[in-house]
Symmetry: none
Subunit: 414 residues, 2 copies
């Protein structure tokens, strides 16, 4: 079985916009053992989109179309799909009612008239409920092929695909078993990691190994396709074991959990409380920690000590220390961590101070220099990093290094 | 004139690979005033690629094809283009000699036999010399349309396009100028906005209006194409003025600046300092404010008061108030804002407390209920919002509403 993905939207045809939906869908489809043979991005243009859908339906088993299901005149996917497949559309009052109910729940007075466009369903299509937005998806089976209409916003599209499309697609597939392993790694660069583990995984075409990197954080996917689950698991273990051996404690998750979730679990397991004192990251670490539901069980709070004065007043860094060593220094980052820990009565406290850029320090310290502090029940430590990249990258990587250090500390036997 | 880009290569259809060539080419083409109306990525698959090129040639003025010009069996672009356009190919000994010479220059002994495949040229095509690689590009003009074959490696493709394609394309273009306007809007939903301004912009096909929405934040692009700059600006003003009139103070930026940059500029202009006290957003607002370089000129810092105890200790919310009204209440959010403002000696302070979800309050308050507070030099106010969506959306929209409220407050005449 092969698949083709069509992304709809003129905004996706600008020089800066990346169609991330199709990357994610490719990953999902590959996991199901389905190859993506063609991807396209089409403007909000009825005739062009109609032609592209018709051609896709002609040549591919599965056609996924993302976007263009909104309420405006620009949203042409429903009409184009209907025209390409030669089937009609019917207004479904029940869907209109659901959209209207959503509007009420949102506290808006009434549904805008044009939202009714979203209640049209292609004849014979199954409606794929989209509780996270107003436009439902649609599943159209015809001539042994399937066309799926999906909403464009990733936060609506992804759960809808996982919950409603994957089970339906699996029913269409021959009985093959796919098993996967998924590891997340911090504290090593992509090429270093690849150099380390390539001698292992390149020996195998099954399982397939995929390495996905973002700054400071790497995902390793192993995917085995076999006729039995036992065979797949054996193959996966054969490859995974030496990889895990090589990576050691740099692997922070084997179930997809992100770094903040992993840290949260460890804090909870220890019944420990965390606090932060952030300068150059300005709240990024607190934001990540509290992005996890239930973080109020282990995150007490923190201080955004953006100015020197605030470092003094909020977490008690001595003014003389700031004057003597500057705000970006080992004693200050330690005092920040200790101060935050004491003020909040937390067990652990992370602190960050540095030059996120583009400017460095007045004293010639380069941008990207970041101190991270960690106060624990037994003391306080600090580490210095010279990070590269723009302001956004420096802040993001500093946050990852801080969380990863805490993770390792929480894993130590005490 | 419009263009379509086809990238060739199965490796571009994996979950991690981004076709950066097409982004770069889109930028180049836009600069020439040419709109990209469709992009596709096709596997190394002769029939599919032939069909895609034929369809592209049918519907678009300019078809750019990158990749698939190499020496192996997998490299099917030449053959597919010839088949799609119904023209033959001829072996050109001169090109074979150039490739052989390049091999000598690179210190390789002899040219591999299959490199001779790269010396086939479509009949009637202009050869686009590629001094940085072995595969030359090709420029095929037919029926008033143009198909361009470009090498896939960016370091070969980019200079070849700039040096050899741009001048040829410019000769085909009517003297045209493109002018754009770009507005960012907060505090209104996409369909409400569209319903409000559609009566204005749908009257015009030039300028083209595009509306792009993410939760709580909308971008409006106007793009006029005319023979003179003056004419384009007049048209843009004709459409933009009534749109701006309808949107009023919901428009926060007309130069692409994001909300945190806009807020930062206003604080700086007033010589005012900001502080925050964040509960359910956990640092998100501080993170956004400090993502702007130079924010140390107006952001003093903040408090992540994640627990009730921290709301009391860090910003002085009375314990009785917390007990009587709960942490998610008007008096508490006001006390948080006032407390943060006083403790940091800032001029303005934003506070947020709410249920980000998935859980609501123990007292039955639903998830998504968020109080935002704003303390200013003249007093403190609070607003309640019932937001929908998951934890991530609720936090993100709460942050936008808080920043947008501050923006409006800073715009008031005092």
């Amino acid at each position: 079985m092969n698949a083709e993905i069509i992304a709809v939207g003129s905004e996706l045809l600008t020089p800066t916009k990346i169609d991330t939906n199709s990357l994610w869908l490719t990953d999902q489809l590959n996991t199901l053992g389905i190859e993506v043979v063609l991807k396209s991005i089409v403007a909000d243009d009825r005739p062009r989109l109609t032609a592209q859908i018709a051609a896709a339906f002609e040549r591919s088993d599965l056609v996924l179309i993302t976007g263009g299901l909104g309420p405006t005149e620009d949203d042409v996917t429903r009409d184009a799909a209907a025209a390409a497949l030669g089937i009609g559309q019917t207004f479904q009052p029940k869907i209109a009612d659901q959209i209207a109910a959503l509007f009420v729940r949102l506290g808006r007075k009434t549904m805008a008239e044009n939202n009714k466009r979203q209640a049209f369903v292609l004849d014979g299509a199954e409606v794929l409920a989209n509780p996270r937005g107003t436009a439902p998806g649609q599943w159209i089976a015809k001539n042994g092929r399937v066309v799926i209409l999906l909403p464009g916003p990733p936060r609506e599209m992804k759960p809808l695909f996982t919950e409603q499309c994957c089970p339906r697609i699996e029913k269409l597939l021959p009985p093959i078993v796919i098993r996967t392993r998924f590891y997340r790694v911090a504290g090593i660069g992509e090429s270093d990691l690849d150099q380390l583990i390539a001698p292992v995984y390149t020996k195998y075409t099954n399982p397939v190994t995929t390495i996905l990197a973002s700054p400071g954080d790497i995902h390793i996917h192993l995917r085995a396709r076999c006729t039995t689950a036992a065979e797949a698991e054996t193959l996966l273990t054969e490859v995974a074991e030496p990889i895990l051996e090589l990576l050691g404690d740099r692997v922070y998750s084997d179930d997809g959990a992100d770094l903040e979730t992993t840290v949260g679990r460890k804090l909870k397991a220890k019944n420990a409380w965390l606090a932060v004192a952030e300068s150059c990251t300005g709240g990024l670490i607190g934001e990540r920690i509290t992005s996890v539901a239930g973080s109020s069980n282990y995150f007490r709070g923190g201080f955004l000590t953006y100015t020197a004065q605030m470092k003094h007043e909020m977490v008690g860094v001595p003014l003389e220390m700031l004057a003597q060593h500057t705000a970006v220094s080992e004693p200050v980052v330690k005092a920040m961590a200790s101060g935050a820990r004491i003020k909040t009565k937390a067990d652990y406290a992370l602190s960050v101070t540095g030059y996120a850029g583009p400017e460095g320090g007045d004293d010639g310290t380069p941008a990207g220099l970041v101190w991270i502090g960690l106060a624990t029940p037994v003391g306080v430590e600090a580490n210095k990093f010279q990070l590269w990249g723009d302001r956004e990258r420096v802040r993001s990587v500093a946050g990852i290094y801080a969380l990863d250090w805490l993770r390792k500390k929480l894993s130590e036997r005490s």
